[in-house]
Symmetry: C2
Subunit: 214 residues, 2 copies
């Protein structure tokens, strides 16, 4: 069992949101941004924004704010998103399709260039410009074109077997959307995505409201 400690989880999860906002500002020609403006955009407190940003190692200029281009560079560097990592997606159902259609991934150092499924009706079809190949062709497709990250969007029951195949082919980083705890050998990293995590956050906020109304 892998026990590496990752600190600052909420801050790390917020980084793509900062990046998204900053890239928009950059496109609009903005050169600097204050932490106050970022706090308002993020709907969080100023001190939290300052702490988040300090993680990237940038030196803040409190009076004039942060340089937009520089902050983008620091966030990308903090996340290792200054290079574009090739990825494979397994499971071209509705969730997989949604991820393939997600335009912002290219800003997040992430490029899905392999798509696999085992449904004969899907094989050969194109989804947002990527052709769906059969899972049994993974080894062949990966030869000389190894993905850095694999995204598992198959059913809960199929997820472990897909993970086993990916691991045997040498994939080291798995982003798992199936609602199962995958068993992988040491050295392989799994990030399990639990969509309902956000629902839990909303539920707790709702409960706090209810309690303050009483």
């Amino acid at each position: 069992m892998r026990q590496d400690k990752i600190l600052n989880i909420p801050a790390i999860r917020r980084m793509p949101t900062y990046l998204h906002k900053l890239l928009k500002m950059q496109a609009e020609g903005r050169s600097s941004v204050s932490s106050t403006e970022l706090a308002e955009y993020m709907h969080i407190e100023l001190i939290v924004v300052r702490k988040d940003i300090s993680l990237t190692g940038i030196s803040g200029q409190r009076r004039v704010g942060y340089d937009v281009n520089e902050l983008i560079r620091y966030i990308k560097n903090y996340l290792g998103w200054d290079e574009l990592l090739p990825a494979a997606l397994i499971g071209a159902g509705s969730l997989g399709t949604a991820l393939l259609g997600y335009n912002d991934f290219e800003h997040y150092g992430f490029c899905i260039n392999h798509v696999f499924d085992c449904d004969p009706q899907k094989i050969g079809k194109e989804i947002y410009g990527r052709k769906v190949r059969h899972i049994r062709d993974m080894a062949e497709c990966f030869a000389g074109n190894m993905p850095e990250i694999a995204v598992i969007c198959v059913s809960n029951t199929a997820a472990q077997s897909v993970a086993d195949q990916l691991v045997s082919l040498g994939v080291k980083y798995i982003w798992n959307f199936a609602n199962v705890s995958l068993e992988v050998p040491p050295g392989v990293v799994v990030q399990r995505e639990v969509i309902a995590g956000g629902l839990a956050m909303l539920a707790v906020k709702r409960k706090q409201d209810r309690m303050s109304e009483d």
Copy 2:
């Protein structure tokens, strides 16, 4: 701007995962579970599991572990998931379809019983047993059947206008999957779901690996 402080964010986000595991154990007839077993399942440290579970207010029995039924009850109560909240989903694209097909929501106090879109090709169709209605019929559909939570799965450009409509109809809790920061009046709570947050986590783990290899 809403500034309510939510503490223990990572713990709250983990709650559905504990619940998922415990419900599976319950279905298998298990009566008790140790924190060690939960730590192994969650791939996190024992002390973190104990801290997470203590948030629910349950009194642990270290020797025999937790009673599965009781822990389920405490987690559900902690999240306010002991009642089933009606929800509306707006945007029946691939992500919306994926959420409609997510079987576990009923365990998470969450039941999507309204689906809206504005694409004529989708109106009237059924997705996992729910008929897609036109967005302009929202007011009519909500009369006497008001959703507690609205899930926004429309495009980034349409999200604010959909949020405005929802707020004007009286919706107070919004789960937003569009990659925009929604402006809402005080008293309305938005949980913004940033799918790329998990990718950032994976990226940081990958970067840690790289640095320890150097």
